[in-house]
Amino acid sequence: MKKLDRVSAAFWLIFSGLVAIESHRLGVGSFRSPGPGFLPFFSSVFLGLLALALLIDSARATGVAAMPEEGTPSGSWKSPARALAALSVYVVLLETLGFLLCTLGLIAFLLRVVERKSWPVAISTAVLAALGSVVVFQFWLKIQLPPGIVPIYF
C-alpha cells in the first residue's frame, strides 16, 4: 500500500502544480477582490501540500501493515478493462448507430465476453434489456434517446 501511496501522491503533486499554474493564469486577484482563479489556486496548493505530506509519510514508514479497508483486493484487471473498452466504443457510436443497437451490442458483449454467459443467454438478455429500457426511458419517462439508424417512433 505504501508503494501505491507514493505513486498516487506523486500524481496529485503534479496535478496540483498544473492546476495552480492554470489558476494563476486565470487571475488569483487579491484578498480584497478575489479573482476567478482564487479558490482553485489555494485549493490546489492545499492539495499539493497534502500530497507532499503523503509522499513523505509513505517514504518514511518502514512497512506498516496496510489497513484492510484501504484499497480493494486485486483480482483480474482484464474484466474491468474489457468492460471499459466496450463502454468507450458505446460512447463513440451512440449518436451514429443509436441507443437501441448500441445497447444491444453492449449488453451482449458484457454478458458473453466479460461474464462468459452462453450466446442464447447473452442475446436474449440483451434484447430484453434494450427493448425494456426503450419502453421505460423513452416511452414512460419521455427521455429523448438518440435514434441513430433505427428510429424509435412514439
Partner: protein, 496 residues
C-alpha cells in the same frame, strides 16, 4: 406557521394519493437497493435524479428521501442472511446478525432490525419536527463567514471520520473543490478549466460524476473478483423477538436513536458513523462484551436503530441550513436545486409544502417500511438470488441513460465513464468518494461565501475569527485536523 399547523399542513400534502404513491415507491426502491449489494443509496438516488424533472419538487423529494432511509432498512437483510452488507451503514450488523442466523435465529435478528429501525426512524422524524423550526431561527443569524466556516467544518468532520486515511480524505475534499470550479465563473464571466469543451461550460454535472464514482466505479471494482454469495439456507421462522430479546435490546435501541440522530445532524456525520459508534458504545456498556461478535442481539438492535435515526437527523442541516450532511444529502440538495429551490432557513417559509410535506411523509414511510420488511423478507431473499452477472449490465445501462438524460448530451456520458475510471482507481489506491462529492456540491456555495465575506471585510481574513460563531466552527475544524497528530502512536514496524 406554528408546529401543529405545520404538521397538519404537511399531512395534507403527504396524504395526497400521488405523494403516497411516490413515498411508497421510494421506500420500496430504497429497500431493494439496500438488499442488493453493489448498489448503494447514493448511486440509486443519482440514477433516479433525472426522473425528478418530470415530477414536482415535493413528490420528487419525498421519493428520494424514501430511497435513503429505505436503504437503511434493506441493508440489514443481506447482512444477516449472507454476511454481505447491502450498504455501508449495515456493515456492523454482519458481525452479530449473521452469527444469529447461523444459530437458527435469523428470524428474531431480522425482526429486531426492522422493529428497531422503525422505532428509531419514528423518533428521528419526531425530533426533526421539533428541532428543525427552532434551528431555522438560529440559522437566520448566519452570515457568509458562518456559512463558510460551517462548510469547512463539515468537510473536516467527514475527513476525520473517514474509515481510511484522513490525509487522503482531505485530499479528496480539496480535489472536489477544484473540480467544483470547472465551468463559468458567474462573477467574472470567464470560463475556468473548460478548454473549449461545451459539456464543461456549465461545470461538471453532479449526476454523471456520482454515477461514475459510485455506480460504474463500484461495478468495475466488483468485476475484478467474482462475487459469489451463499444465502444462509434456513427456513426463516418466528420473526418476532422474544421477551428476553426485548429486555436486552430496548436500551440499545433508545441509545442508538439518540446517538444516531445527533451524529446525523453533524455535517460530515451520517448513518455509517452512527452505526459504528453505536456498536462500540453498546460493547463498552455491556456486562458481557465478549458476547459481541458471537450473536448478541444488542449488536444488531443498537446499530440498526442508530443508522435509521441518523438518516432522519441528516435532513436537518439540509432543510434548515441548505448544507448537506453527507454525500447522499448532497445529491438531494442537487435534486432540490434542479427544481429551482434553495434549501435554507427560509425554505420553511418559502416552500412549506416541501418542508412539512417531506417531514410528514417520513412518518408514513417508516410505516410502509415496517409493512414491507417483515412480511416480504421471503421476497427479498429471492431477489438476492439474482446473479450479479445479470444485474451489473443493467446498472451500467441505468448509469449511461441517466447521464445522457441530463442534457441529452454524449458529453455527460463521457464524464460519467471518466469518473467511473476515477472511482475504480480511487478504490485501488484507497481513496474515498464521499469527501469529493460533498466538496463538489459545497464548492460553489463555499466560494460564494468566501468571496462575500472577503468583500464585506475589505479583504481582511480576520472576519472569520472575529465573529464568535464562525470562530468557534473554524476552531473545531482546526482541533479535528490536529487531533490525529496529537494522538498518534509510534508506528509498529512490520515486514510488508
Amino acid at each position: 406557521m406554528d408546529l401543529l399547523s405545520g404538521l397538519l399542513h404537511g399531512f395534507s400534502v403527504a396524504l395526497q394519493p400521488h405523494n403516497l404513491f411516490y413515498c411508497f415507491l421510494g421506500v420500496l426502491i430504497g429497500t431493494l437497493v439496500g438488499v442488493l449489494p453493489g448498489l448503494g443509496p447514493a448511486a440509486a438516488i443519482a440514477l433516479l435524479l433525472p426522473t425528478t424533472f418530470y415530477t414536482g419538487p415535493v413528490s420528487a423529494t419525498i421519493m428520494l428521501a424514501g430511497i435513503y432511509y429505505g436503504a437503511m432498512y434493506g441493508g440489514s437483510t443481506t447482512s444477516i442472511l449472507i454476511n454481505i452488507p447491502g450498504e455501508a451503514a449495515s456493515v456492523v450488523t454482519c458481525l452479530d446478525g449473521y452469527q444469529m442466523a447461523r444459530q437458527g435465529r435469523a428470524g428474531p435478528a431480522l425482526g429486531m432490525a426492522a422493529i428497531g429501525s422503525f422505532l428509531a426512524g419514528t423518533f428521528s422524524v419526531v425530533a426533526l419536527t421539533l428541532f428543525a423550526p427552532f434551528l431555522a431561527n438560529v440559522a437566520l443569524r448566519f452570515g457568509p463567514p458562518e456559512y463558510f466556516a460551517l462548510m469547512v467544518l463539515g468537510l473536516t468532520i467527514l475527513a476525520y471520520l473517514a474509515k481510511g486515511s484522513m490525509l487522503k480524505a482531505l485530499m479528496m475534499a480539496a480535489l472536489g473543490i477544484v473540480l467544483s470550479c470547472v465551468g463559468l465563473d458567474i462573477v467574472s464571466g470567464s470560463y475556468r478549466f473548460t478548454y473549449g469543451f461545451l459539456t464543461l461550460s456549465d461545470g461538471l454535472g453532479l449526476i454523471p460524476v456520482v454515477m461514475g464514482l459510485f455506480g460504474l466505479g463500484e461495478i468495475l471494482s466488483n468485476l475484478e473478483v467474482s462475487l459469489t454469495r451463499e444465502i444462509f439456507a434456513t427456513k426463516i421462522k418466528g420473526l418476532l423477538p422474544t421477551l428476553q430479546d426485548w429486555k436486552v435490546s430496548i436500551g440499545p435501541i433508545v441509545r442508538g436513536s439518540f446517538l444516531g440522530f445527533f451524529l446525523g445532524i453533524l455535517p460530515g456525520g451520517g448513518a455509517i458513523i452512527a452505526s459504528f459508534a453505536s456498536y462500540a458504545m453498546e460493547k463498552k456498556l455491556s456486562r458481557n462484551p465478549e458476547k459481541f461478535g458471537t450473536g448478541a442481539i444488542e449488536g444488531v438492535a443498537g446499530p440498526e436503530a442508530a443508522n435509521n435515526s441518523a438518516a432522519g437527523g441528516g435532513f436537518i442541516p439540509l432543510l434548515v441550513l441548505g448544507l448537506p450532511a453527507n454525500a447522499v444529502m448532497a445529491l438531494l440538495l442537487g435534486g432540490l436545486m434542479i427544481q429551482g429551490l434553495q434549501p435554507g432557513p427560509l425554505l420553511i417559509v418559502q416552500a412549506p409544502d416541501l418542508f412539512w410535506g417531506v417531514i410528514t411523509s417520513m412518518y408514513l414511510g417508516n410505516i410502509f417500511l415496517l409493512i414491507l420488511n417483515l412480511p416480504l423478507i421471503g421476497l427479498w431473499v429471492r431477489v438476492l438470488k439474482i446473479p450479479y452477472s445479470i444485474l451489473f449490465p443493467l446498472v451500467i445501462l441505468f448509469c449511461l441513460v441517466g447521464s445522457y438524460s441530463v442534457n441529452n448530451s454524449v458529453g455527460d456520458v463521457v464524464v460519467m465513464v471518466i469518473f467511473g475510471v476515477v472511482g475504480y482507481l480511487m478504490k485501488k489506491f484507497g481513496y474515498e468518494g464521499a469527501p469529493l462529492v460533498l466538496a463538489l456540491v459545497l464548492g460553489p456555495m463555499l466560494e460564494e461565501s468566501l468571496r462575500q465575506s472577503l468583500i464585506l471585510s475589505h479583504g481582511a481574513f480576520a472576519v472569520f475569527f472575529t465573529r464568535p460563531i464562525s470562530a468557534g466552527l473554524l476552531l473545531s475544524a482546526l482541533i479535528l485536523l490536529l487531533l490525529p497528530l496529537l494522538l498518534r502512536r509510534p508506528a509498529v514496524a512490520v515486514e510488508e
